[in-house]
């Protein structure tokens, strides 16, 4: 139990996916203008990440390792993710229309979110077992959500700030992210 808690804390705060591992930067910059969409994106990502972690673990253990096909890891993981996203999209559309409308456009974007493939690759690298993998996937998603919501909150305020003309948009976002990363460095050594 303590072990699982450490995985959770480590993925959410100490090794935050966005600010420490640099995964999922594209949606982090692209979808962090407003808090509302940022929350939807975070939820959709967390959901897909948790599922991906479970499926990727099973595929890796029983298909790739079972048949000694580890060199196909990248190809098979990306296929798993693409089909999973498609499946999740159809599933949500069928059972919950409001949720579908809220997540709608963000779901296809997730396929090319490197954070998802990153989860699959990391859990193999770190040799997690099945339960640990699921917790890892979930907490990586929570970490992503935390970072993107903080960022959206800051950017909403930033609109009122007097930013030099050439630094509007992406450059100032990067610099703010740098300050956030600096703050998150304070957590290192916590575990």
């Amino acid at each position: 139990m303590a072990n699982l808690f450490i995985i959770f804390l480590s993925a959410v705060i100490v090794n935050n996916y966005v600010l420490v591992n640099f995964l999922g930067i594209c949606p982090f910059v692209g979808v962090s203008k407003r808090i509302g969409p940022a929350i939807s994106m975070g939820l959709a990502t967390t959901f897909v990440m948790t599922l991906t972690a479970a499926v990727a673990w099973l595929v890796n253990r029983y298909i790739l390792e079972g048949l000694n096909l580890q060199f196909l890891q990248t190809v098979s993981f990306i296929l798993v993710i693409a089909s999973l996203v498609q499946l999740v999209e159809m599933f949500i559309k069928k059972i919950s229309k409001p949720l579908y409308d809220a997540l709608g456009i963000f779901l296809p974007l997730i396929t090319t979110n490197c954070a998802i493939l990153g989860v699959a690759l990391f859990l193999v690298l770190k040799e997690y077992n099945f339960i640990e993998s699921i917790i890892f996937g979930f907490s990586a998603g929570v970490g992503f959500m935390l970072a993107i919501i903080i960022m959206a909150g800051i950017r909403e305020e930033l609109e009122l700030a007097d930013v030099p003309e050439y630094f509007k948009g992406a450059p100032i976002t990067m610099i703010v992210a740098g300050c956030l990363a600096l703050a998150f460095m304070g957590f290192s050594g916590l575990i």
């Binding site: 640099f22 594209c26 990248t74 990306i78 296929l79 050439y166 630094f167 990067m174």
Partner: protein, 202 residues
């Protein structure tokens, strides 16, 4: 294509006007993650050159037989294959660099630069032009990563490509080779490139 832009122009647009990192903000994850030294940035760039040129040529050759509906999965499979080749080659010949880049080599698969070029260019243009376009884009990417890596290495450790540049009295700014340095340097580089562009337009 009716209006034929010259080959050199096709190549040069990737270096500045449509520079994937500075102007189009694509492929930011590897850009930030691996540029803690000049050599890492440069090797990442080489891996991307290989993957992008190879997948662009294959996609361009097969562009007329790929059905429109399944083109994205097809692109991804082709890209993933070449990424796997690049990954295994790095691990075999330069294990140190392969270790330093870690999971970011397999993550080239989801690098939006590569998928973006297939969708926007290789699937609509003949092989020769696609290869030139791919070369321009990936060389632009490599140059940007190398510069970013050099700045961070120079300020963070005092060296470029492991050659001592700064005098020994220089106190290294550790933060530049850590995560915040990546965000700060890239933010400044994008800002400066915006400024240069605006000045050139005048």
């Amino acid at each position: 294509m009716a209006s034929k832009t010259s080959h050199s122009k096709e190549f040069l647009k990737g270096l500045w006007d449509e520079n994937p990192v500075l102007r189009m903000l694509l492929g930011l994850c590897p850009t930030l993650a691996v540029t803690n030294s000049a050599i890492n940035g440069f090797s990442m760039g080489l891996a991307v050159i290989f993957t992008l040129v190879m997948s662009s040529s294959i996609i361009s050759i097969a562009r007329n037989i790929i059905p429109k509906e399944v083109r994205i999965p097809t692109f991804i499979i082709v890209i993933a294959t070449f990424v796997t080749i690049a990954d295994k080659m790095l691990a075999a010949y330069v294990p140190d660099i392969s270790k330093a880049l870690g999971p970011f080599v397999p993550l080239i698969v989801v690098n939006c630069i590569i998928l973006g070029r297939q969708e926007a260019f290789a699937s609509k243009n003949p092989v020769g032009r696609s290869i030139i376009d791919a070369l321009g884009m990936s060389v632009g990417f490599t140059i940007t990563l190398t510069i970013l890596g050099s700045i961070r290495e120079l300020l963070g450790v005092g060296t470029i490509f492991a050659v001592q540049i700064m005098p020994s009295s220089f106190e290294p700014w550790m933060v530049m080779v850590l995560q915040p340095g990546a965000f700060l340097t890239l933010g400044l580089m994008i800002g400066i490139s915006n400024w240069l562009n605006a000045r050139r337009a005048k």
